[in-house]
Subunit: 189 residues, 2 copies
DNA sequence: AGCGTTGATGACAGCAGCTGACATCAACAG
DNA sequence: CTGTTGATGTCAGCTGCTGTCATCAACGCT
């Protein structure tokens, strides 16, 4: 495997997911990941900021997609419905990737360090959503709370979708979760 | 400062908060923290699992308090109202500690690594709350969603409280945030 | 007072994550 | 064919973190 093989980033991401799955995150060394990808440790750190980031390459696109869908919702839509539109767009992105999502999620769930990284990515999404809602004229703290609600639905919905049978579509699961959140918050009083 | 000075943990926690505030988290070395506390690096790691954990010593008690209040809510209370009772109990704990909370929050907000740690502590609280709600007979996904909603209110409410004037009590801020969440989720349809 | 036990701390070696600096090499333009 | 460019390799070094063993203060027992 020569120096200039194509797709170095992708090879390292796949190698990392394999090794994290097989031997665990902590037991895996960055040098091992790089070696399996036919590269060196130094090159790994040129592509990924740290050992965790290699599993979160797509999070930027996900956030962009989510934000764009919320920003593009009809002006007349209530904030929570704009977020629902965002969840729908996100759900499309996961179509056909349930197996990969499961593999990745299993590793993250088993590793606190990776869980931390996932949480800060979700927090970044929440902040971006809140900003988008503010640009739509939503005041604080409504904007932040709506964004947090959307992320809560995404978190719970994602886990249910990942655990579910192939037939259940993510968009449907997300809608159910949002309805459940509505019911539950309306519960008291 | 001799070997057996009392309250080694507290001294290190205070030294860490000072140094993180003055020079930044990354620029502060664990050896420096230990030295300011009159101890060695090795002793620091005997008391705290890592360089971040030194700022989160109280998170366990906070979670316990929250959970106990939810578990102790009247059986007739709706899930969201049980969580509201928990928020109220938590708010009592912060009474008179706004200045300390501000200092600590400023450092955490400025440091992604610390933000990650805070987020996983909140996720732990969310999971504990969901478990408590399940024990109260709440089914999934309602339990997890209610717990996430409670944490969302806590996050948004905390920031507002920390930024607010001395007169505004945390319990009041939390109640307002919860009302706002109710309004916002009910918004669509 | 003397002595052994216990628990916290210090001292040291070492690995892994991560970075800066510089050399090397493939591809591409002209 | 040559100079440039950008990705990669190599090496040195710091810091976070851990295992291991020695040291020391406090306390109880005789």
């Amino acid at each position: 495997m020569g120096r200039w093989e194509p797709n170095a980033r992708g090879r390292m991401a796949e190698a990392a997911l394999q090794l994290y799955s097989e031997h665990g995150y902590e037991q895996t060394t960055v040098a091992e990941i790089a070696r399996r990808a036919g590269l060196t440790e130094r090159t790994f750190f040129r592509h990924y900021a740290d050992k965790r980031e290699v599993l979160f390459a797509g999070s930027g696109e996900l956030e962009e997609l989510f934000v764009r869908a919320v920003a593009g919702a009809p002006e007349s839509a209530a904030p929570i419905d704009a977020v629902a539109a965002g969840l729908d767009a996100v759900a499309q992105m996961f179509a056909g990737r349930r197996e990969y999502a499961r593999r990745r999620h299993a590793v993250i769930t088993a590793t606190p360090e990776l869980k931390e990284r996932e949480l800060i990515k979700l927090a970044s999404m929440s902040a971006a959503l809140a900003g988008t809602l503010r640009r739509r004229g939503v005041a604080e703290p409504a904007a932040s709370l709506t964004a947090e609600a959307g992320i809560a639905v995404f978190k719970v919905g994602f886990e249910r979708w990942a655990a579910a049978a192939e037939e259940r579509e993510m968009s449907q699961v997300m809608r159910e979760a949002l309805d459940e959140l509505r019911a539950v918050t309306a519960g008291g009083r």
